[in-house]
Amino acid sequence: MTDEQNLVKELVGMSTLEQTRAIRELTMSFEEKKNIRWIINGTKALAVVQKWLCQFFRRCSYTMRSARQALELWHGIMKEIGGKFGTSVLTYFLFLKWLLLFNIFSFVVNFSFITVPLLVYGPNITSNVSFRGLELLTGAGYFTHTVMYYGAYSNETLRHGVEYNLQLAYFFTIVVYMVLCGIALTFSMASSFKKNFVLVDPASTSAWQLLCSWDFSLTGEKTVTQRKNNLRESLSEKAQQKLLTLREKLKHSGIHLGSWLVSTALVAGCASSFSLQQEAETLLVPFVVSLMNLVIPLFFSLFNKFEHYSNNRSQIYSQVVRNVLLRMSILGVLCYHWMNEVSQRESFLCWESMVGQALYRLVIVDFLFLMLGSFFGEFLRNVIGTKLHRRLGPPEFDVARNVLDLIYAQTLAWIGLYFSPLLPSIQILKFFILFYLKKVSLTQNCQPPCRTGRAAQMQTIFIFLLFIPFYVGAISIVGYTAWSLNPSQNCGPFRGLDRSFSVVELWMAGLQTLPGSGWAVWIFENIIKSEIFYFLITLIILAITYVFYQLIQGRKMLIDLLKQRIVNEGKDKSFLLDKLQNLQKSRPKKDTKHGRVCYQTFSL
């Protein structure tokens, strides 16, 4: 009935008075006119309802957004820090908040799936040691037999109406959490990489500094003046940069090589000193570890003073790489010691709890040293800079070092998750206190940073660092423990089994008896347990990576060609404009109007 629809459309557009008049003049019966009127009111009403619905949803989404912002943790503090110190310092606090969310999730998941079933329905754990304050520091003593550590968890299957297998729950909770972390990290790394690295052109630094780098959110005359001075220095430095002679280049490379050799030697020395340690259970080991992590980077920054870097970024990168190497090697040696020696020792009743306690101590002592580091690095340095050596001035907030401390702390928590499921609770407390501590220290002691660093790229590097050495290391440790090591015979959820992974094998064997679950067992036997599958997957992924690499090379060529084309178009434009102007000069006056129109077309 398209005629009717067209009519209705026409009538809806008119005002009420015109509508009534138009309908009255229609050549239709009264019934049909009533019908038409009813349709018009319907469409009008529909339009009104539609509009109202749209507005309603829009208002709902706005209210939700404002509510979410109001509930967002530390929103006001972040604004204040960003305004006073700029975005690169803000990335530290954002990173801290992000890691805190990981830990909150982990704690909630572990507590609800592992601890609560044990506490509510499982056997009671009695300990004959009373609580002394020292336990908070050492993690041993009263805490040894509590749900804090692996040893207290039972391997039974609870039957209380619903079957709940504590063994499987423990295994899968830990594994699924680590896998989810990995996925979250991969996605954030990929999106950050795409946004901040792929399109960035490292060559255009002067233009970027002049036009894009000024931080409009800075307030305060002192801050602004300082930034202006720094920008001026940096620009005039760049303007006067001269090329280095071959001899100077060789000298610089030599110094670089020397510093790297000395740093690597220091790192190797620290790591090997641990293998000589016999007693790994005392408070001494965490103390020495944290002391090394605090002191050796100072040596690295000393080397930095002698080295000459072409730009600020490679300086930060080399420092970060050295620090990462130090921390990874110390952690690696400790883990090797735990995996190979502690797990084989017969004198421990429950070696996993021992490792859990060692990690707990590491976390606590690391926290104490972070506070000490803040005290010495920021507070004392500020006092020295403002009262004693006025020329030095207050310190800057060292974002790279602080973020690395955070990543290291999170790695400890990830490694310790398997051995001490409630360790994230300590981590949450630690990060919470650390946030406020750093915020107070920042506002009281530090000055805004001199160089406007590329905050977005630094953030990508940090996420990348979090993922590749640290997270992958943590998950390999957990994986190795679950796959290869013998669990203790007398304690924990995997007692009596050959290795932790057997719990899944047993479950699969049990599933075979259930009808309809044959596919799950088939998948497990032929895909997850077979090596051929992983080999094939790796080959396929390598092939796909190679194809994408070639695609990228092709795109790069295309970008260069297009850039060249823009340059050529510009040349064409200026050539034609010149020709036109020459023509205008030589032609008589009556043609100037025509010429002006052409000029307009060209300048579009």
């Binding site: 706005y62 901040n196 399109l199 002049l210 005039s236």
Partner: protein
């Protein structure tokens, strides 16, 4: 403190929300605008009064007072080009400078801010003025020329001696920090 409904009509509120002002900042922005001159700005906007605050008041806001580009910002966002802003201009300014504004919009306005002679191109003199504002005028004349030449070399893609909006946007696309630096918090 009146509620939103007593100061503005529902249609005005909707128009502002669609126009891009984040609603959670809306009342905050209105009261900041009013605080600059309580005797000039009425509490009842339903009749759409024609109130413009002079540039001196806008430039004295704590968020803008130390910004080297405050005059250009006010000029770009004001209707008359002199820096005298009505409430609409004020809201427009803070919505472009907020976190939510899309990159292209920010690039467009940043380009207008740096374009001192309003000819839709960033020529050498615009760059020199920008540089002077950013370095407190303490760079020598030769250094200024050298820096501006270098900037022009790097950013001018079609080699016509001045930066068009496309050149500027091309540079912004490759500077992911821009979204967070071209941002004023209120």
């Amino acid at each position: 403190m009146g509620s939103k409904q007593s100061i503005f009509t529902a249609q005005q509120l909707d128009a502002y929300q669609v126009g891009g002002t984040p609603p959670e900042d809306f009342l905050v922005l209105f009261y900041r605008y009013r605080d600059l001159a309580p005797q000039l700005v009425p509490l009842d906007y339903t009749k759409e009064p024609d109130v413009k605050l002079p540039y001196e008041l806008i430039g004295s806001m704590p968020e803008l007072k130390d910004n080297p580009f405050r005059q250009r910002i006010a000029e770009v966002f004001s209707e008359d080009g002199e820096g005298n802003m009505s409430l609409d201009d004020f809201l427009d300014m803070f919505s472009v400078l907020s976190e939510m504004a899309p990159r292209d919009l920010k690039a467009y306005y940043a380009f207008k801010i740096y374009d001192f002679n309003n000819d839709d191109f960033l020529c050498k003199s615009d760059l020199e003025k920008t540089l002077t504002k950013l370095t407190r005028g303490e760079l020598g004349e030769d250094e200024v020329k050298m820096v501006c030449e270098k900037v022009m070399d790097e950013a001018d893609l079609d080699n016509d001696g001045r930066l068009s909006l496309e050149d500027f946007q091309h540079m912004i696309v490759r500077a992911p920090d821009f979204l967070s630096t071209f941002h004023i918090r209120i």
